[in-house]
Every structure is written in C-alpha cells, then in structure tokens.
C-alpha cells in the first residue's frame, strides 16, 4: 500500500452536478494516489456512478475541477479519458458482442496498422495476460462467454491501453464468490504496479477485503474519507445510511384485514431467463404498509411485475382478497382493485405526449359512468380530471397540454391522485419519492399513510430508509430474490438492515450489531 506524497494521480475538487433540478453530486472532493485502491461506498442513488462518469467524461460537472497528474483536464470528446489514461469498467459492459476477445482488446488501438497481424497482437496481449495472471481464450466470441470472463476482458482492455487510473463499478454483482475473490487478487496486483484503482461498491465486506482508502457518499454528498485500517463496519454502515431520523409519522392503530395479499412460493424469471424471485412467500394485510428494502436488482422489479400481471410466473401463486390472480392479465388486475404506482413515472406512469386530463382518466375511461351512447363523455371525463387536480393540488400549465411538461412532483401527484381516487384495495408503490423535492416527498408519504389508515394494503418498495422506517408497519429485506428477514418495524436498526441488504440473515445481522 503506497501512499505517495507526490502529486496525486487524480484530484476531483468541489464537483457538483444536477439533473433537471435534482442535485446528484454536491461539492464532492476525491483524491487518488498511485498504487492506491480507493473504495467509493454508498447506497443506490448516492451518486457514485455519476461522479465517476464525470471522471471519464461521460458527463460534464456543473461546478468543480478535475486534475490528472496535477494538470487540469477537460473531456471534450468521448475518447479523451482513455487517451490520457483513465479507464472505467461499467456495470453494463461495453464490449462488442459479436467480435472476439482479441478484437475487442485491440479495437481502436493507436498502434494498429492497416493489416492486422493477429499473431503479433496475440503475443503482445500475452505479455499483459502473463503479467497479471489472466488466462483468456483470445479467439472466443464475447457473446458466448460467461459474465465473469467478460469482465476480465474489460479489465485487460484497460491494461493493454496502459491506463494509470482504473475505475470499476460494482464489479462483483455479476460474479460468484470465487470469481470475486479472484478479481480482488487481480486488482491488488494491478495496484502494486503503480496504477490507481477506484472501486465503486455498496458491499461492506468487499471494502475491508481490498480497499486502502474509503470515501462514503450519501444522497449526493461526501460524508467522509477514511483509511480502511482506521474504521469499522459499524461506523461505515452508519455513514452510509445516516442517523436514525426523527421523522415520525402519525401511525394510528388500524384494524387490519388479514391476508389481502398472499404470495406463496413464488418463482419469477428476469428478462435474461435467470431466476430473480426465488421462492418468496409473504402476506400483506389491509391497513398496513409492508416496506420492501433492498439494493436495486435483487428481484424487486420482477416481484412487482408478478403482482401487477406484467410478467409470467415460473411457479407459485399470488392471491388477492382470497382469489387466485396469478395468471390474470394487467387489465384484469386493474379491474379487481390492484393499483400500481410505477417507479418510472415518466415513461410508464403516464403517456408523456398526451394531455394532463387524458392521463388522469387512464384507469376509469372504461366505466359506464363516462359513456354517452357509443361515445366517451369527454366533458364528464374532463371534470373528473379537474376534480382530482383540485383535490390533490396539482400544478400544471394547462389541462390540455402534454403531461411531460409537469414537474416531477406534480407528475407524481397526478399519478397518485389518479390511483387514490379509484379506491383500490392494494397499492403497490415503487420508489415513489425518487427524484422529488421535499414538498412532493411529504405529499407522497402522507398519501401512503392515508391509504394505510383507510384500511388499504400497501406494498412499498423503496431505497429510502427514512421512508421505509417512517411508513412501514412491517419490513421485508430483499436479497437475491428472497427475504433475508421479515419483521415488525422497530425490531432492527438501520445498520442491521444494511447488513441484511448485503446478504446477512436476520440472525446474523442482529448478532453482528450486538443486538441478540
């Protein structure tokens, strides 16, 4: 572990970035030295990837400067970062699928002559592979390789281009334990040759396994930078998730209606055909909020799709009000009284180019109340829409103008107002306050509680701990397609939940935090 007192390899000063009024990085500093492995730790949405995207020129910072080996640098074309020696291995790989490993490694290399001498190139690549102990079949086609191997190709790609700064973004999410350990060895070797590595992760265990320095981000702000020797998991966990919030919500006792939703041994596949929901069973009562915590990508989307009818289940059953709805299509589920407030409000929750009122009637246009002979009673529909606008205080530029003109908060009000007016019995809310300002966030949370208090069943999938803790009656922590724990809110602390999100079982997490 070298901590050179010389010029740092990379220095990011006062970096700030906002997207559509939403602050994603707020005045962040980061320093990387040669030979150092620097972990960038934080939950989903903390701003880690965005920060690194600015270090590689994918985004431009709104404020702040970036220095590379002491010189200020501006990225004016996509290839600039790699050209100066900064390379990033993204979560979604950028390899060219139908080419071979060798072709991917030499693509765009400045030393390429017109006719490629493959034999010569192979020899050259071999020297890199030997140096870092990679063994790859250079003639294999990328699309046919398992993900773990592809990741190695990505890293080797950077080494061949002689980067001095290597950024890896959540590399172990796609690896087995063994592959992950192997990766750590390779990274350590790379760092020992004098390169600097930035390692983005949300997993605590990894940080202690490999990092020299750790920077913790939370909600776009840098919390602290510490040396790995001088800190503990507990300290890091509390930096990541923040202090227990004093956000109290009035949660009166409600009469619970048992088993409004029952999920029994559910198996659901992801788009890639792999099991994303793995034998999950749980139930939700009317009059309670069931909060599902967990890092994105552990099966929440697939579970949600299975509940709303947007995805076929492999095995298992879903019951709603004691009726088997497992194979009902989305329209039928809407009719039985299931409401879904999607995480992607712009593309799924509304048809952006259609008007405000057209989007407000999305779930009710088929009702007989709005029929006028063969036609739709547009007047009645519009006044229905206006009623919702007034009741929920939705600010809009014009009822006939496209919905995409609404601000994020008002768009969510539109969606929530529309759904609440339907008086359904189950509400599935996915990341409902993502990207919203304080006022809108408060409105959403109050609405969720209102639904709960009126006896509705609410399933809340969220990455925001304030929300989970503030609103839920019971909490389920999802990890790799199943619940590592389901318990009453209040039984476990934030840190314990953090550990459960990283794979610890309920018992293990409690033990770890001394809460036996």
């Amino acid at each position: 572990m070298n901590n050179n007192k010389k010029t740092p390899l990379v220095e990011m000063q006062g970096i700030s970035k906002s997207f559509f009024g939403n602050c994603v990085n707020d005045n962040i500093d980061l320093v990387l030295h040669s030979g150092e492995i620097h972990a960038l730790l934080g939950e989903n949405g903390a701003g880690k990837t965005t920060l690194m995207n600015m270090l590689t020129g994918v985004y431009y910072p709104d404020k702040g400067d970036i220095y590379h080996k002491g010189e200020k640098i501006v990225f004016d074309f996509p290839g600039k970062a790699l050209k100066v020696g900064i390379g990033m291995v993204h979560q979604r790989f950028s390899l060219v699928g139908n080419l071979t490993v060798l072709e991917n490694l030499i693509l765009g290399h400045p030393d390429n002559k017109f006719v490629l001498n493959m034999a010569e190139k192979k020899k050259l690549i071999k020297t890199y592979m030997d140096q870092f102990n990679f063994q790859l079949d250079l003639d294999a086609i990328i699309n046919e390789l398992p993900i773990g191997v592809r990741q190695k190709v990505e890293i080797l790609k950077m080494l061949v281009r002689e980067v001095d700064v290597l950024i890896v973004d959540e590399p172990t999410t796609v690896l087995t334990k063994q592959e992950a350990d192997n990766l750590m060895e390779i990274l350590r070797k790379i760092a020992n040759t004098g390169k600097g590595i930035i390692f983005i992760t949300h997993k605590m265990a990894e940080v202690f396994q490999i990092a020299d320095t750790i920077t913790v981000l939370r909600k776009g702000k840098k919390i602290s930078t510490v040396s790995s020797k001088n800190t503990t998991a507990r300290e890091l966990a509390s930096m990541m998730v923040g202090k227990e919030n004093n956000l109290t919500f009035e949660k009166p006792e409600t009469k619970k209606i048992p088993n409004v939703v029952e999920v029994k041994n559910l198996f659901v596949n992801s788009d890639k055909g792999v099991l994303a929901v793995n034998n999950i069973s749980f139930s939700v009562a009317g009059g309670e909020v069931f909060g599902i915590a967990g890092v994105t990508g552990n099966g929440q989307i697939e579970l949600c799709d299975a509940l709303t009818g947007n995805r076929e289940v492999v095995r298992g059953e879903v019951f709603f009000k004691q009726k088997d709805v497992t194979h009902l299509n989305p329209l039928q589920r809407i009719d039985t009284g299931i409401s879904y407030i999607p995480g992607d409000r712009i593309n799924v929750g509304v048809a952006g180019s259609r008007s405000v009122w057209e989007n407000l009637i999305m779930k009710v246009y088929r009702l007989n109340d709005f029929r006028k002979g063969l036609f739709l009673d547009n007047k009645k529909l519009k006044s229905y829409a206006e009623k919702i606008i007034e009741k929920y205080d939705i600010s809009h530029p014009g009822i006939n103008l496209p919905s995409l003109l609404l601000s994020g908060g008002n768009l969510q009000k539109l969606i929530i107002g529309r759904e609440m007016e339907r008086d359904c019995d189950l509400y599935i809310c996915v990341y409902p306050t993502r990207g919203l300002d304080v006022g809108a966030t408060e409105f959403v949370r109050k609405s969720i509680l209102k639904l709960r208090n009126e006896g509705k069943a609410v399933i809340l999938i969220s990455g925001d701990f304030d929300e989970i803790f503030g609103l839920s009656d019971r909490i389920g922590v999802m990890y790799e397609g199943n619940f590592t724990g389901i318990f009453e809110n209040g039984k476990h602390s934030l840190e314990e939940i953090g550990l459960m999100m990283s794979g610890h079982s309920e018992a293990e997490a409690a033990k770890e935090m001394g809460n036996v």
């Binding site: 947007n310 509304v350 999305m362 739709l376 547009n378 995409l404």
Partner: protein, 353 residues
C-alpha cells in the same frame, strides 16, 4: 474556431412547428426549382404553370380536387398506422388489392341496383385492402418481422396479381390489359363539378368519422395512448397486439377504399395504372399532417396540386411527369431535415482546447 452544439429542446409550440414545416416546404420548392432548371426549363414558368393548371380554371380546380380524393384515403391509411408507430409502406398494394377484390365481384357477380351495388363494391374494396394488410400484420405480431419490407414486397405482388387478371381472365375485347367498362350501377354518381364524384363525400365523411373515433371513443382513447407510449399503454392494461392488428386492418381497409373509389369514381374499369403512386404519396401526406385527420385533407389537396401540376408540365412543357415524384421526395427530405430544428436548439460555441 466555432462549432455548433446541439441542445435538446423540451418541446416546440404548435406555432413554431408550423413555421418550421412551412419553411421546409419552401426549401423543397427551391430545390425543385433548381432541379427543373437543370432540365432546361424555366422554374418560375414551371411553377406558374403548376399554379395556373390547378387554380386557373374551374376545370383545373375540379381536376385537382379529383386527384385529392384517393390521397385523402391513403393519407388517412398511413396516418392511422403511423400514429401507432407502424410503418405501412404497403398502401399502394392494399389499394390495388382492394380494387382487385371489388372488380372480381363486377366480373363474376350479379348486377345489383345502384346504391346496393356501390355499397357492396366499397365494402369489398375495404375488405380486400384489409386482407392484404393482415398478412404483414400477422408477420409482425407473430414473428416480429419488420413491416417496412414485408408491406413493400407485397406491393409488387399485388400489382402482379392485378396483371395476372388483366392479361388473363379479365382482359377486355380489344386485347388490352383493362377490363370492360363497369355497368352504370357500379359507377359513383358525379357531383356536377367537373369529374368530381361522390367519392369525395365518402372521403370527407371518413375524415369526420376518424376524428370522432379518435377523440370521442374508448377505442380512440386506447389508440391515442398506444401511439404515445407503448409502456404506458401496457400499464393501462391495453392489449397492444390486438391494437396493432386492428390498426393494420383499418389502415389496409382505407387504402383498399382508395383503390375501389378510384375505379368506380373515375376509371370505371380496372387497369394497370389506376394509381400513380397514391399509396406512396399518402406517406408524405400523413407525415406532413402529423396524423391530424382534418389537416390531412389540406395536405392531400396540396399534394394533388403538385400531381396535377406535374401532369400539366408534361403536356405543356414536355417535362416528364416523374418530376412530381422528385418534388415529393424533396419535400420529404426537407421535412426530415427540419426535424432537427424542432428537436434541438442550435448554439454556436467557441471550440475549447
């Protein structure tokens, strides 16, 4: 050094949209002028002739109106598909197949009293067009085959089938590839203004029906939603596949009507050239009109001015009628190019190191 930076625009007001579109048409007309000049003809004289032939006499206006009728049908046909992001390039083939289907009845079926005969033929024309569109529809829905190529290839097949009958069983007495003249009961009545026939009433009625359906019915609402966002439509519980199939059929039916209306309104027989590309021109009409049924009528008329003008240029100045096709393509290019200005603000910035 300066460079142009593109900045994404949120949206453009209807007013700005119109201005940009008109500017684009202007650019296209200028390019067309150059094109015409290249052939040794004075472009201003040419445009003058186009204008005068379309508007200079009652006859001219009536002929222009006449030409706009099939364009309204094909414009509607392509528009209804485009609205759901479906590319129906096969309107030409559906037009012919609709005409073929109805002609088959005339050839082999009993003559009926006038209104019933006409209704029957119209229905058959619509069914024929819908059938021809159902093929690429199924290919797309069931096998994800891209509809651009399938609809296009079927155009050639449809015209080939027409040839088969015209050179074969339906050949007229004088051995030319056209049918004998249709019985009077099959002809659409004229309206007393040149050759303008009842077809224009049908077309305008359809425009109104389309408007009503799209904006005042449940199906229309589903169409609006699907055309705006497939994901949101699915979320709202709409069956996308059924929608797509229905849209294809309607599109084909409208194109089929274009064909039969031409046959029983103007030609009174089936022959190889009942359409000088109305199906393709319909694409331009739909694209220009942004799929608004009433605006389609306006642009259908505008393009028929062009088509009528091209005919006159051929007669008066010896310019091949294909000049009309060239000008249409230039208009399409210009509109395409103008999209850049609708989607982005152009900013001049200093090139940084």
């Amino acid at each position: 050094m300066y460079k142009i930076k593109l900045e994404q625009r949120e949206r453009v007001s209807n007013q700005q949209d119109l201005i940009i579109t008109l500017a684009a048409i202007g650019v296209a007309l200028i390019l067309s002028g150059i094109f015409i000049a290249l052939n040794g003809v004075n472009p201003f004289a040419a445009f003058g002739k186009v204008f005068s032939s379309a508007f200079g006499s009652m006859y001219g206006i009536s002929e222009t109106l006449l030409k706009s009728i099939p364009l309204i049908f094909t414009g509607l046909a392509v528009a209804i598909a485009l609205n759901s992001k479906i590319w129906n390039i096969g309107a030409e083939g559906q037009l012919y197949f609709g005409a073929i289907t109805a002609t088959a009845y005339v050839m082999y079926g009993p003559v009926l009293p006038a209104p019933i005969m006409i209704l029957t033929l119209l229905a058959l024309g619509a069914i024929g067009g819908a059938f021809w569109a159902a093929i690429p529809a199924l290919l797309k829905i069931k096998f994800k085959m891209n509809e651009v190529i399938s609809t296009l290839l079927l155009n050639y097949v449809a015209m080939n089938i027409a040839d088969y009958f015209l050179f074969g069983a339906w050949k007229g007495k004088d051995n030319f590839p056209y049918t004998t003249e249709f019985p009077d009961q099959a002809k659409l009545p004229q309206l007393g203004f040149g050759r303008v026939h009842f077809g224009i009433i049908i077309a305008l009625v359809l425009v109104v029906i389309m408007f009503l359906v799209i904006y005042y019915t449940k199906t229309g609402y589903k169409l609006r939603l699907t055309g705006s966002s497939l994901k949101a439509a699915k979320y709202a519980g709409i069956d996308i596949k059924k929608m797509m199939f229905g849209v294809f059929l309607c599109s084909g039916a409208l194109a089929g009507l274009a064909g039969i209306v031409q046959v029983i309104g103007v030609e009174y027989k089936l022959h190889q050239h009942i359409s000088p590309g109305y199906g393709y021109t319909g694409i331009i009409v739909a694209w220009l009109a942004r799929s608004n049924p009433f605006v389609i009528v306006i642009f259908a008329f505008f393009l028929s001015v062009l088509l009528k003008g091209a005919d006159s240029l051929q007669i008066a100045m010896g310019l091949p009628a294909a000049v009309g096709v060239v000008i249409q393509s230039l208009i399409l290019f210009a509109i395409l190019g103008s999209e850049l200005f609708k989607n982005y603000n152009l900013k001049l910035i200093k090139r940084s190191k």
